[in-house]
């Protein structure tokens, strides 16, 4: 299953409170994602919370978009990515 990086912009700043309502939002997001076979891995957020870079696993770019629509989340772009880690290259054996 491909991994995607999704860039999003929230002009008013993304605000998911750290309480029950926030938990409800993230649970709903996970549920809607599952309908499309999409898994939200994690996200990187700018300090002012206006931009996020989200890592998703999903079957296709269209599934990412369907999930985003269900969750009312904006998409600036979708890029397919793989993981590269400096520790892969450490300590030549």
């Amino acid at each position: 299953m491909p991994r995607y990086l999704v860039e999003r912009t929230f002009p008013d700043g993304l605000d998911i409170p750290m309480d029950a309502s926030g938990r409800a939002v993230t649970t709903a997001v996970v549920g809607n994602n599952a309908q499309q076979g999409v898994t939200w891995v994690h996200s990187y957020v700018t300090p002012d919370r206006t931009k996020t870079f989200c890592i998703y696993d999903g079957p296709s770019p269209e599934s990412i978009r369907q999930a985003a629509t269900a969750n009312e989340l904006p998409i600036d772009s979708i890029v397919e990515v793989g993981v590269l880690d400096p520790y892969f290259y450490s300590a030549a054996v």
């Binding site: 002009p11 309480d19 309502s21 269209e62 978009r65 009312e72 904006p74 600036d76």
Partner: protein, 857 residues
């Protein structure tokens, strides 16, 4: 018998049953290797509910060619004697499918189909039919099978693939844990750890080994079964062997006649190797039966099969036997003549019921026994094999069989039937992707028959018309079609229907205003002939033909009807093609989300190549325009598949989409030589839309080519009349093409217009190119582009904020709104703040005073 470690499985089954009883029918797949205890779990579950729900079980046979509809015959025998008798006769399967369903849903029921890895095609079709119609049915349908025997190409896997999208629960039966094996070994000297390693916790294997009580553990489960069998007295051993040739066990009366001393049966029952439910004597497990049967010496096995055959045919008057079983025993007995006779009977029955693979196999067995005789029987068997091969998706084998049959028919002095066989050979070759050879054959046949009075000539012309239509030889198709109509007999509705199908489909590309009427005539005739496949074909041609010439309202209407018809009749192949075309229409009319959804559905399941080509082209084009990943991979695959067909209507869209990919990426036209070649084909076929599209691409590549008869919007574009071209696209309902023309126009005003329209469609990449062009023009203010507001709302409110706003305007407090929407007050505070911000007001009263513009869509 005590079941170990099966509580959670039984609990899951209980959950499913509860759902089913509440009216939402469920399909459960229970899987596991042989001997893992699937039947034991089901038996326990059914016993638990014997008094509160109707339960019924059917078995698939461990035969290479099983009884067609075997498990449903078993079920009907206990529920509905009329249905039972009907299923045992050669009935048309779709007629009884509804009967079976109605029977099973008439009251809360648990229906189990065991060992579906052996299921015949008729059973698989009926399972798919049932599984697609479980909503509002109080039915728990459980299908058990050996997952390790169902690989990627197994027919059951394919049938399950057709159920993607339906709610299915999969339960796997695991092996016993070490602790459970220790429990079982408790009173014995057998080392539990070693036994667990050897058997993998397989319950049957474990209990077999423990039953032999040998000090040395047998290496395989077969060894342990045979070791146990060897503990029987010789006469009892012979009895065991006799029962082993009966694939589903045998009635006690039958087994008694097979053995010399009936008391040996009791000895076998006591040993635990055989079981009885009072009526039947069976092995404890199929694995054990096979082990014993395989161990038989060939002569002994043959004589046992011969004895069984004699006994069951003697009883045949009172207890009719499925011909598949008779054929099995005749083959086991080595009786060539009887094998042929019963194989033919079994083949006919399987064919009538739609068990095509098995029909083909039975025909092959029969043909092996018929040698190279020049007989009517052999010709019929060859024709039967060909029909079954086609229906089983093996068109190449069908073509060969039809060829042989044709030759034989000539020898037998039946030139008309020979001609029919040759015609079917040609259609089979067409299905096998060998279109050029198929066309040569039909053309030759037409020439040969034209001089005479063969009744096949009309059909040959109709087939010729279809072939020419598919090759986009419009004139040729129409003339061949009309010749077919001239020659067809007045009551040959199917022939006439096929002719009108070809004529009408071809007319889309030459005289489109006449196409619909012609196809509708064909539709009426197809309905008269009761030919479901022909009806489907015509409905699809009504839709896809209209779509190919951009008559979108007509196309959408007919495609929706085609999709419904195909779903109701489980005609997946054509249904997927219609769905792919529906996606294409949605793409061209600007609803990309819906288009991507439908096209993805087609791509994600096994489908015809042509469906895949259309769907991949749609998805790939959308990805190109949105800037999403995997655009090239989708379009490359589409092109590869299209190139293999060699058909204009596949090559043109795939090549055009690849050209678009390169164009938005770097402004060049990729592979103009290829586009040029396809343009030649388009001109030869006088296909105005293909000519236009390809002509515009070549002009972008700086190549001036004559494009006679290009469709209006393209023709206007080619002479630089951008405003006419744009108007034409808008009239047709193609917003993307209209915007693209504006972009090509290149003035600041039209670029700004194109930019706005591209943004509206979500065409991020063309929008970016527009901005670049505007920057090069030195335009002062280039709109940044509305960030995709959540949901299409004029003020950019989310759906939830919209709801909250409505209550604010009614004057409710945040606490009241929270209670109405069952949210926390804090959440509502948050939403209200967002609403105020987005509307650019600073208080609720100001917001309430705003008149909300209704959403234009």
């Amino acid at each position: 018998m005590v079941l170990l470690e099966r509580d959670s499985l039984l609990a899951s089954l209980e959950t499913e049953l509860a759902l089913a009883r509440s009216g939402a029918g469920r399909l459960v797949l229970l899987t596991g290797e042989a001997g893992i205890g699937k039947s034991s779990v089901m038996a326990a579950f059914l016993t638990n509910h014997a008094d509160d729900v109707r339960t019924v079980v059917g078995y698939c046979d461990p035969l290479e060619s099983p009884r067609s509809l075997g498990p449903f015959v078993d079920m009907a025998s206990t529920l509905d004697e009329d249905l039972h008798q009907t299923l045992r006769s050669n009935v048309e399967p779709r007629r009884v499918m509804s009967w079976v369903r109605d029977l099973l849903v008439s009251e809360p029921t648990i229906a189990v189909v065991e060992d579906a890895h052996w299921a015949d095609d008729a059973t698989l079709d009926l399972l798919v039919f049932l599984a697609r119609r479980l909503r509002d049915a109080p039915l728990l349908l459980v299908v058990t099978f050996r997952s390790d025997e169902v690989g990627g190409t197994h027919p059951l896997r394919h049938a399950l693939g057709r159920l993607s999208g339906e709610p299915v629960t999969r339960l796997a039966v695991p092996g016993l844990s070490l602790a459970a094996v220790e429990d079982l070994c408790a009173e014995t000297a057998t080392p539990a750890g070693t036994l667990h390693d050897l058997t993998g916790g397989n319950p049957f294997y474990v209990t077999e080994v423990l039953a032999t009580g040998a000090s040395e553990l047998p290496a395989t489960v077969v060894d342990s079964v045979l070791a146990r069998a060897s503990t029987l007295a010789p006469e009892a051993r012979r009895t065991l062997e006799a029962v082993s040739v009966l694939p589903r066990g045998g009635a006690i009366s039958l087994v008694t006649q097979l053995v010399t001393d009936a008391s040996t049966i009791d000895e076998c029952l006591e040993s635990g190797l055989l079981r009885t439910d009072g009526a039947l004597v069976t092995f404890r497990h199929e694995v054990a039966r096979r082990a014993v049967e395989q161990s038989l010496a060939p002569v002994r096995r043959r004589s046992l099969h011969a004895e069984v055959l004699q006994l069951i045919t003697a009883d045949a008057a009172t207890e009719p036997v499925d011909p598949a079983e008779l054929a099995h025993h005749a083959q086991g007995a080595g009786d060539r003549e009887l094998t042929t006779t019963y194989a033919l009977e079994a083949a006919r029955r399987a064919q009538a019921l739609g068990a095509q693979r098995d029909a083909a196999r039975h025909f092959e067995v029969a043909l092996a026994g018929l040698g190279s005789d020049a007989t009517e029987v052999r010709a019929e068997a060859l024709e039967g094999l060909a029909r079954a091969s086609n229906a089983a998706g093996r068109a190449g084998a069908a073509a060969t069989a039809y060829e042989d049959a044709a030759r034989l028919r000539l020898e037998l002095g039946d030139p008309d039937q020979a001609a029919r066989d040759r015609l079917r050979q040609a259609t089979s070759l067409g299905s096998d992707g060998q279109a050029p050879l198929a066309r040569t054959l039909v053309d030759a046949l037409v020439v040969e028959l034209e001089a005479g009075t063969s009744p096949v000539l009309a059909d040959a012309h109709a087939e010729q018309a279809m072939q020419r239509m598919l090759a986009r030889d419009t004139g040729g198709a129409v003339s061949a079609g009309h010749r077919a109509l001239e020659l067809a007999l007045p009551d040959a509705a199917a022939t006439q229907g096929l002719a009108w199908n070809a004529i009408g489909a071809a007319l889309w590309f030459s005289r489109p205003d006449e196409a619909e009427a012609a196809l509708e005539r064909g539709l009426q005739l197809a309905r008269e002939a009761g030919d479901d496949q022909l009806i489907a074909s015509i409905l699809v041609n009504l839709g896809s033909g209209a779509g190919e010439v951009r008559r979108y309202d007509v196309a959408a209407r007919w495609l929706d009807e085609a999709i419904s018809w195909c779903a109701a009749h489980d005609l997946d192949g054509r249904g997927d093609y219609a769905t792919a075309w529906r996606a294409r229409v949605l793409l061209e009319t600007g609803d990309w989300t819906a288009a991507a959804g439908l096209a993805s559905r087609v791509i994600s399941k096994p489908s015809l190549t042509i469906s895949r080509i259309v769907a991949l082209t749609v998805v790939g084009t959308i990805r190109v325009r949105r800037g999403d990943p995997e655009a090239a991979s989708a379009l490359d695959e589409a092109w590869d598949l299209a190139a293999r067909t060699g058909d204009l209507q596949r090559l043109w869209p795939a090549a055009s989409a690849l050209a678009e990919l390169a164009w938005w990426r770097d402004g060049t036209v990729a592979d103009p030589a290829r586009l040029d070649q396809i343009l030649d084909r388009a001109i030869a076929s006088a296909h105005e839309w293909a000519v236009g599209d390809l002509g515009v691409w070549l002009s972008r590549a700086g190549q001036k080519r004559l494009t006679p008869g290009a469709a209006a919007p393209y023709a206007a574009r080619l002479v630089g009349d951008f405003s006419q071209a744009r108007k034409d696209w808008i009239d047709l309902g193609c917003p993307f093409e209209a915007a693209w023309v504006s972009m090509d126009d290149g003035s600041e005003e039209s670029l700004l217009l194109a930019l706005a329209e591209f943004e509206e469609l979500g065409a991020a990449v063309p929008a970016t190119r527009c901005r670049e062009a505007l920057r090069r023009l030195g335009t002062a203010h280039i709109p940044r582009g509305a960030r995709q507001a959540t949901a299409a709302h004029p003020q950019g409110l989310t759906a939830r904020e919209d709801e909250v706003f409505a209550f604010v305007r009614e004057g409710l407090s945040n606490r009241e709104i929270a209670s109405r929407l069952t949210l926390s007050t804090r959440t509502v505070d948050h939403h209200v703040a967002a609403v105020l911000r987005k509307l650019g007001v600073s208080s609720r009263s100001e917001a309430a005073a705003l008149v909300r513009t209704t959403n234009p869509t």
